[in-house]
Point group: C2
Chain length 600, copies 2
C-alpha cells in the first residue's frame, strides 16, 4: 500500500529557485515568509497531510458522505480531522491578519494546499471553498458582514460555499433564476434551488456561510442583474452566537464518479418562509464579486491537477518497485525483476513525474506573481504581474487538471490488473481527478477565457511579453548547455521549437479572434494545452539550468541530476507535442466546424 | 437519456468499401456472407443490441454481479438476455458449421461484436471468452473433447473461460504454479488458484468450461512447461448430460472500477479432492494454444475500444443536442443555443467521431485480412495476410482501447457537471473502458510484441510492405484531390507526413531493437500509437477518397460529405501528432532510462 509522502524537496526547490520566494518575502505584508518559517510550515503541513488526511482518503471514498433528512453526515474521522485542521491554524494560513489570519503569501499557501489535495482531494475542497468565500467577503463585504462572519471563517469554526449553478444555469450564469426579495430591515429573503454545491451541508463545523447568486426584483436580465448574498445556515446573533436555523437546506446529494467524501449538495433556499440573506457589496455586481472567489478557486482546482499527478505518480512508483514480474528485457533466464526496471513502466513513471514537476513549477510561479500583483510597491510591477496571472490562471486550471486526469489513468495502467481493483487505490485517483477538469469552469471555459478576454481583446500583448521572457532563457541555456548530445542541448532545442510553435499559434489566435471568432474558439483548448506545455517546458528548462549550474559547480546532490533528466524527458516526450498542436490550431478549424449539426 | 443506435451505415461502408466484404465472400468457406445476408445479420444484431442489451447496461452496472457461497448471481435480466442471445444463434455466428456454427467470416462477426460491446460491455465479455475457448478447442482439442464440449459451447448452452493469471503470474506466464497431476484414467487432477477470471462463475448457463494453464509434475520450468487443460464446472457424462460438480469453485469476485456486471472471479481448483481436468493437445504446449484464444480475445478487446469511442460519442452527441446553454459564440443577446453549436463541444464530438470511425475501419480491415489468412486458396496470400494480421492485432488492441479510454473521458467532459453524476451514464463508459487497455495484455505488452516479435525479429519486412501500400494511396489521392484548400489536399499532405514519420520511426525501431533493445522498448508504446494513428489515417484517407469520388460522380448522400469532413478533421487533429511521436521515439529513449531507480 502506497502512503503519501509530501514532495518537500521539490516544493522547496520550486518555491526558492523558480518562484522567487526570497523576493516574495520582501514584499510589504509578506515579510513573515522567512526561509525558516516556510520550511517549518511545509514540514508541519506534510506531517498533517501524511498522518491525518491521507489515511482517511480510501475510507472516505468507501463510506462516502451520506444524506439523511436534509442533513449530511461525513465519513468517519472527517469531523475530528477537520477540527484538528482548524485548531492547527491551517484554515487561516493565507488569510488577512486583521481577521485572525497568518498572512502568508499565496505561493506558500499553494504548496501547502497541494499537500491537502494529494492526501485527500475530498477533504481539501472544504477549505478551498471557504477560502474563496473569505476572499470575496474581505474584498467586497460590508463592515458588519466582515465583523459577523470573517473571524469564524478564518478560524475554521464556520465554513463557506459558493452557490452559482442552477439546473439551467451551469456555465451560463446569465440564466440564474434564484430571487432575492428586499425586506424592511435591509435584509433579503432568498428563494431558489442551487445544484452542485460543494460542501453545501456537512457536520464538520457549526455553521455554513453560503454565498449565493440571486436576482433582486428590479434586476436587469442577464449577467448584469445578478447580486451576491450571504445566506448563513444558522442565523448569527449580534453577540456572535448562533441563532435560529435559516431556511437553507440540503435536499439531496449527488451520486458521483468520485470525491465521494465531498458532499455535492442540491440546496433549497426559501422552501418554507424564505432564506434570510444579506447583500454583499452593491446590487447587480454579484458576478464580478463571484469571480473573486472563482479565480481563487480556479487556481486551487489547478493545484488539484498537480496533486493528482503527484499522488498517482507516488502510488504507481511504489507499486512498480514492489511488483516482481518477468525478467529484464532482452535477458533470457535471468532473475525476475521489479517492473520499475521495464522500459515502458519507466516511461510511464517519467511521464507522471515530469507532469507533476512541470505543473507544480508553473502553478507556484503563477502564485508568486499573484503575490507580487497584490503586494508589490511599484504599480507597474503590480500591473505586469497581474496581467501574467490573468493570462495563466486558466492555463494552470485547464492544463494541470487535464494532466491530472491523464496521469491518474496512466497510474492505473502501471498497476496492470491490480489498478482496476478498487482496493488498490489507483482507480480512486482517476475518479477523483475527473471532476477537476469540469468544476469552476470546464477546460473549454478556461480556454475561451484565455484566447478571448486574456489574449484576443488585448491583441496578445501579455502573451508576447511572456514569449519574450521565455526566449530570453535561450541565451542562458546556450551558455551552460555544454557539448552536443548533452541534456541541456536537447532541452534548449525542444524549448526553442516549442516557443516558435506557441508564437505562431498565438499570432494566429490574435488575428483570427478578431476576424473569425468561431475559428479561434475551435482552437481554444488545443491552444490552452500548447501554452501549458510550453510554459511548463520553460519552467522545466529553468529548473534544469539551475540544476546543471549546481552540478557544474560541484554539487553532488542527486536531486539536481534527477531534475536535469526529468526536464530532458519532458522536452522529448511532452514539449515534442507543440508543433503538432500548433498546426492543429492554425489548420484545424475547418475540420471542427464543417460537419452540419444534423449529420452528427 | 441516450439510447444506443448501432451505426449500421458506417459499418456497411467499412465492410464493403474498406474491408472488401465482396472479396471475403468469395473465399472458400465464406460464401454464406452475401450482401443481403450480411445486411440482415447487421439489422437483427442492431435490434438485439438496442432493445435487449443496451437497456440492461446501466441497471447491470448499478446492481453488479454478486457473489454468495461460492456462486455468482448475475444482475436482473442478464440470464434471460443471455438465453435469448443463445437461442437467437448469436453465440454460433462465426463458429465452424461442423459444430453447429454459422460459419460467417470474422469481418462480419467483428461488426456484430462491436454492437454487443457498445450496448453492454459487461455482457459482451461472456461470449468473447467462450469464443476464444471454442477456437482453442477446435484447433487443438482431441476428438473426444470436441465431441463432449464444442456443440454446447457453440450453441451457447455452456460458456467458456480462460484461466491464465495467478497472483504472482500476471503478464509473466512463466511464473504459473498451478499443478496438474496425471490420473490412471488419463485425466488429471488440477490444483491451484487463478485470479481475474472473467465470467469464472455465473448463473446464465448450465455449465462452464474452464481452460486452465497448469504444470504437470515433469514439466520444465518457464513457459515451455505449461500445459492447457479443460476443467468443466460440472462433469460431462458420456451421453452429454451433466454429472457431478467438479472441484472448481469461485471463492470471491473483485470489487472493480467498472464492468460491474461482469464477474471477475478468483477461482480455486482442487481445494477439496482435486479438480478433474483433461489435457488439451500435447503436454507443455499450453502457452502456444492459449495464444490462439489470446489473439482472438485481443482482437475482440480491440473492438471494445471501437465500441467505447462510438458509445461515448453517441451519448455526448445526444446530450450536446439537448442541452441549451449560453448564446452562440460572438453573439451578444442572441437566443440560447444547444451546446453542439459551441466550437469546442464540436471539436470534442469530432474527435470522438473520428476515433470511432478510424478505429472501426482499421479493426474491420484487419478482420478481413484474418479471413483471407485462413481461407484464401493461395498460400502466398494467406501468408501475406497473416503477416499483416500479426503486425496489426496488437495495434488494434492497444491503440483502439487507449482511444476508447480517452474518448470516454472526453464524453464526460462534453456533459460538464452532469457527466460526473453517475446517473447520466457517461462515467460508466469510462469506468468500463479502462479495463480494455489492461486485460489480455496491457498496451505495453502489445507494444513490445509489435516492436519485437512482429517488427524487430523480421527486420521490419511486414511494416515496410504496409508502408508501401499506404504510400501507394498518395497517387490516387493526388488524382482526386482537386483544388488547393480542398479537404483531400489537406488529408493527402497530412497522410504523407504521417507515413514519413512512421517510416523514420520504424527504421529506428528495426535498427535499435537489434543494437539496444532497452532503448527500442522505451519507444514501444509511442510507436504503437504512431502506427495506430497513421494506419487509422490511411483508412480514413481511403474512405475520404471513395466518398469524394461518389460526390464527384453526383451522389448527394450526405454520408459521403460527412465522411470527407471527418477524415479532414482526423488529418488535422490526430494525424498531426505523428511527427511529435516519431521524434519522441527516436530521441526520447535517453530520457526514459536515465533516472536511476532509487531516484524515483
Amino acid at each position: 500500500m502506497s502512503e503519501y509522502i509530501a514532495p518537500i524537496r521539490d516544493m522547496q526547490f520550486v518555491l526558492k529557485e523558480l518562484a522567487g520566494l526570497d523576493q516574495v518575502a520582501q514584499l510589504p505584508g509578506c515579510e513573515e515568509a522567512t526561509p525558516d518559517l516556510v520550511d517549518a510550515v511545509l514540514e508541519e503541513a506534510a506531517r498533517f497531510a501524511e498522518e491525518v488526511l491521507s489515511p482517511l482518503n480510501i475510507p472516505g471514498d468507501l463510506e462516502g458522505a451520506r444524506w439523511h433528512n436534509k442533513a449530511v453526515t461525513m465519513p468517519a474521522g472527517f469531523k475530528q480531522a477537520y477540527k484538528l485542521f482548524a485548531d492547527s491554524g491551517w484554515t487561516a494560513l493565507a488569510c488577512e491578519p486583521e481577521w485572525g489570519g497568518q498572512g502568508l503569501p499565496k505561493v506558500v499557501a499553494a504548496a501547502v494546499a497541494e499537500m491537502w489535495k494529494s492526501a485527500n482531494h475530498s477533504f481539501s475542497l472544504c477549505p478551498l471553498l471557504t477560502n474563496g468565500a473569505i476572499e470575496a467577503l474581505v474584498l467586497t463585504g460590508s463592515e458588519k458582514l466582515k465583523k459577523d462572519y470573517l473571524e469564524k471563517m478564518v478560524s475554521g469554526e464556520w465554513t463557506g460555499t459558493m452557490n452559482l449553478t442552477e439546473p439551467n444555469a451551469g456555465s451560463d450564469l446569465a440564466a440564474v433564476r434564484t430571487r432575492a426579495e428586499p425586506q424592511v430591515d435591509g435584509s433579503y429573503k432568498v428563494f431558489g434551488q442551487k445544484i452542485f454545491i460543494t460542501y453545501g451541508d456537512h457536520d464538520m463545523a457549526e455553521n455554513i456561510v453560503h454565498l449565493v447568486l440571486a436576482r433582486t426584483p428590479t434586476a436587469p436580465e442577464g449577467v448584469k442583474g445578478i447580486s451576491l448574498f450571504v445566506v448563513p445556515k444558522f442565523m448569527v446573533n449580534d453577540d456572535g452566537s448562533l441563532g435560529e436555523r435559516n431556511d437553507a437546506y440540503c435536499v439531496s446529494i449527488e451520486h458521483k464518479l468520485g470525491i465521494h467524501a465531498s458532499p455535492t449538495a442540491i440546496m433549497a433556499f426559501g422552501d418554507h418562509s424564505g432564506a434570510v440573506g444579506y447583500l454583499v457589496g452593491e446590487e447587480n455586481r454579484g458576478l464580478e464579486y463571484m469571480f473573486i472567489m472563482m479565480n481563487a478557486a480556479r487556481f486551487g482546482v489547478g493545484l488539484e491537477g498537480v496533486a493528482a499527478c503527484e499522488r498517482s505518480y507516488q502510488r504507481a512508483r511504489d507499486y512498480a518497485r514492489d511488483r516482481i514480474q518477468c525478467t529484464d528485457v532482452g535477458v533470457r533466464g535471468g532473475p525476475k525483476v521489479p517492473i520499475i526496471v521495464h522500459p515502458d513502466v519507466r516511461r510511464m513513471l517519467m511521464t507522471m513525474r515530469a507532469h507533476a514537476e512541470a505543473t507544480r513549477a508553473l502553478a507556484y510561479v503563477v502564485a508568486a506573481a499573484h503575490d507580487a500583483a497584490v503586494h508589490h510597491p511599484d504599480a507597474n510591477e503590480r500591473k505586469r504581474n497581474q496581467a501574467f496571472v490573468d493570462l495563466m490562471i486558466g492555463v494552470v486550471k485547464g492544463w494541470s487538471t487535464e494532466s491530472g486526469v491523464t496521469m491518474a489513468s496512466m497510474g492505473i495502467q502501471v498497476h496492470g490488473g491490480m489498478g482496476y481493483v478498487e482496493e488498490t487505490g489507483a482507480a480512486q485517483h482517476l475518479r477523483d481527478a475527473q471532476i477537476s477538469t469540469i468544476y469552476e469552469g470546464t477546460t473549454a471555459i478556461q480556454a475561451n477565457d484565455v484566447i478571448g478576454r486574456k489574449i484576443g481583446r488585448e491583441g496578445g500583448a501579455t502573451l508576447q511579453a511572456l514569449i519574450a521572457t521565455m526566449r530570453a532563457l535561450d541565451a542562458e541555456l546556450a551558455e551552460t548547455a555544454g557539448q552536443p548530445g548533452s541534456h541541456l542541448v536537447a532541452i534548449r532545442k525542444r524549448l526553442a521549437a516549442g516557443i516558435d510553435a506557441l508564437a505562431e499559434a498565438g499570432d494566429w489566435i490574435v488575428a483570427t479572434y478578431r476576424d473569425d471568432v468561431r475559428a479561434a474558439s475551435a482552437g481554444s483548448v488545443p491552444f490552452l494545452t500548447l501554452l501549458g506545455i510550453v510554459a511548463g517546458g520553460w519552467q522545466m528548462a529553468r529548473a534544469a539550468l539551475i540544476a546543471q549550474r549546481r552540478i557544474d559547480g560541484g554539487d553532488a546532490d542527486p536531486f539536481y541530476a534527477a531534475k536535469v533528466v526529468t526536464a530532458r524527458f519532458y522536452a522529448d516526450h511532452i514539449l515534442s507535442r507543440a508543433g503538432g498542436l500548433a498546426s492543429s490550431i492554425t489548420d484545424g478549424a475547418v475540420g471542427v466546424m464543417a460537419l452540419p449539426e444534423d449529420m452528427f
